[in-house]
């Protein structure tokens, strides 16, 4: 009995040890990033492996922030991500509402065709999308950054799956009581849909925040740059000023990590859920 408990405890110790080692590998690049962001150029060049800088170069942060219009980049990113998410949630839930509660001609054809488009990655369509944006005179505008991403078949599918779990009587009863279709959507359906709204909202916000190749291609002007594109330009321009580059990496990572700590439980669960449901 005694030895069994001991065996179990030592087993747990080994598990913790391995997990802590892994956690170290996950976190160390970030610790080193923060440490380097506070070092002067001489110390970065030296052989020192110290995580604690010999003198704190806080000025790296304002210098990096001002080297590029990072304030503008942040505002652009937040604006584009917010509008994209809001429109995508609205349009997708509307479409899912139609699929889940209505009967209309070509319903299953349209649904299957939509699902079919998921088979083709956006990256394979970069060239024609670029040409279409050029034709619309949308290149180098916020429209190019936002509009193509306001529709998401994945979100439609996800909302539809959720709506199917709601009792159909809810809809019939509301309509019999004189509730309009639009009224049902706004007053009954949406208040019930907080879980999918939150899950998909976090997803598409993260996707929009981290998008790179699309904004890189469809915008050109500095004042339209989003954070990820700004970082790429900063890297190619500040080339060797690693203290500043690490400062910029730090302040572009931190807001999302803080936000993540607030929603992490929900996020991790929903991520796994959506991952398996596809």
């Amino acid at each position: 009995m005694h030895s069994l408990a001991w065996q179990r405890r030592s087993q747990r110790m080994v598990i913790h040890l391995l997990l802590i080692l892994g956690s170290g590998a996950m976190l160390f690049p970030f610790l080193w990033m923060i440490s380097t962001s506070l070092k002067g150029p001489d110390e970065i060049l030296s052989d020192s492996l110290d995580l604690i800088p010999s003198s704190l170069h806080w000025q790296n942060y304002p210098q990096a922030w001002n080297a590029q219009p990072f304030g503008r980049y942040f505002l652009n990113t937040i604006f584009v991500a917010s509008v994209t998410v809001a429109c995508q949630l609205f349009f997708s839930s509307l479409a899912a509402y139609a699929f889940a509660f209505f009967r209309f001609p070509f319903k299953s054809f349209i649904f299957i065709a939509l699902l079919g488009t998921m088979m083709i990655p956006q990256q394979a369509l970069l060239v024609p999308d670029y040409v279409i944006l050029a034709r619309l005179h949308w290149l180098d505008t916020y429209l190019a950054l936002i509009v193509p991403w306001t529709a998401s078949v994945y979100s439609v599918f996800f909302f539809r799956q959720f709506f199917m779990t709601l009792p159909k009587d809810l809809f019939d009863a509301a309509v019999v009581d004189g509730c309009s279709y639009v009224g049902f959507y706004f007053r009954i359906l949406m208040p019930l849909s907080k879980p999918p709204l939150l899950t998909l909202g976090i997803f598409s916000f993260l996707g929009s925040w981290n998008a790179f190749i699309w904004p890189l291609i469809v915008t050109n002007s500095t004042h339209l740059r989003v954070l990820q594109v700004g970082l790429a330009y900063f890297l190619s321009e500040a080339g060797t000023e690693w203290g500043l580059l690490m400062a910029a990496s730090t302040f572009s990572i931190v807001p999302l990590v803080i936000a993540y700590f607030f929603v992490q439980k929900k996020f991790v669960q929903s991520q796994a859920m959506t991952g398996l449901k596809e």
């Binding site: 913790h16 065709a113 024609p128």
Partner: protein
């Protein structure tokens, strides 16, 4: 349905018209930026065009050129190399971590958060960090190797190491995502199966081989296909860490090459032909996944 109450039928008819309004925004955008481009892309591949001058029909020439383009083949080989190393490495590590986390231990939530942090951080920011880690003189990696008396390498500047360096970084970045999916899969396996096996005296390895592995196989397959599709599209870390496509093009992947041809040189027709190859590869994989998943559903 038609026989029961006329008022209901009339109402259903009214629904029909209304539902299209709800579909309109999504259908419009998907058609404009996803459906039309599919056909457009296919058509473009038969033209020579730089957006400024008028397009010239060249038939199959883009495909013939592509077939004889060493850089195109190199980009395919590089992409397959990236996939063949990063996907198994990621999956094995993720499964190990998920199985470690699937024990009843303290602090599991903290571990989950930690392993997931690289996933949520932007690939561009962490690419900058890893570019410095791999720096020949100032990088953490070479400094650490020197302390251990091991000669450093030129990593991202060395054609032998560049892709491997990017693979290590990519595995680190995406590991947490697969950990979470595997963990969910492990949690769905009934504990009774393990209890029964323990009663029968099955060893740890036997329990893994005969319970965990077969029960987890749908999840494993899902992770495999999703990881392959994801790695076929690798771009941001290549662009950030090796802006020119690597020493001797050693990190030029399909999407990077597509970007270079399309938006560096503005050879739209040629880029469309490259995109077509990428599309075929991913389409076949998705099809395979659908077929296998459907088969499994039928058997159940």
């Amino acid at each position: 349905m038609i026989a029961t109450g006329t008022s209901r039928v009339v109402r259903r008819d009214k629904f029909n018209l209304f539902a299209y309004w709800f579909l309109l925004p999504t259908l419009l955008i998907i058609t404009a930026f996803h459906v039309i481009p599919i056909f457009y892309s296919f058509a473009l591949a038969f033209f020579n065009w730089d957006l400024l001058t008028s397009a010239r029909f060249v038939g199959l020439r883009n495909f013939v050129l592509l077939f004889h383009d060493p850089l195109f083949w190199k980009s395919i080989v590089n992409t397959l190399y990236f996939t063949a190393v990063s996907v198994p490495a990621n999956m094995i590590l993720a499964l190990v971590v998920a199985m470690l986390l699937n024990n009843r231990i303290k602090g599991i939530d903290a571990y989950r958060v930690i392993y997931f942090i690289p996933v949520i951080t932007s690939i561009n920011a962490v690419s900058i960090v890893w570019k410095l880690i791999y720096h020949p003189n100032m990088g953490l990696l070479n400094k650490m190797l020197e302390t251990a008396q091991i000669p450093g390498q030129r990593w991202l500047l060395d054609p032998q190491w560049a892709m491997l360096a990017i693979i290590v970084m990519s595995v680190w970045k995406h590991l947490g995502y697969n950990v979470i999916i595997f963990l969910t899969g492990l949690k769905n396996i009934s504990p009774h199966l393990y209890e029964a096996a323990m009663v029968d005296g099955a060893s740890r390895w036997h329990r893994f081989r005969h319970i965990t592995w077969p029960m987890l196989s749908p999840v494993t397959f899902f992770v495999l296909i999703m990881s392959i599709i994801g790695s076929f599209q690798v771009f941001a870390q290549i662009y950030m860490m090796t802006p020119g496509g690597g020493p001797m093009n050693s990190t030029t992947t399909i999407v990077f090459y597509l970007y270079k041809v399309g938006f560096g040189d503005f050879h739209f027709g040629y880029a469309a032909a490259i995109a077509f190859e990428l599309f075929i590869m991913i389409f076949l994989l998705t099809l395979l996944q659908k077929l296998v998943v459907e088969k499994r559903v039928h058997y159940q």
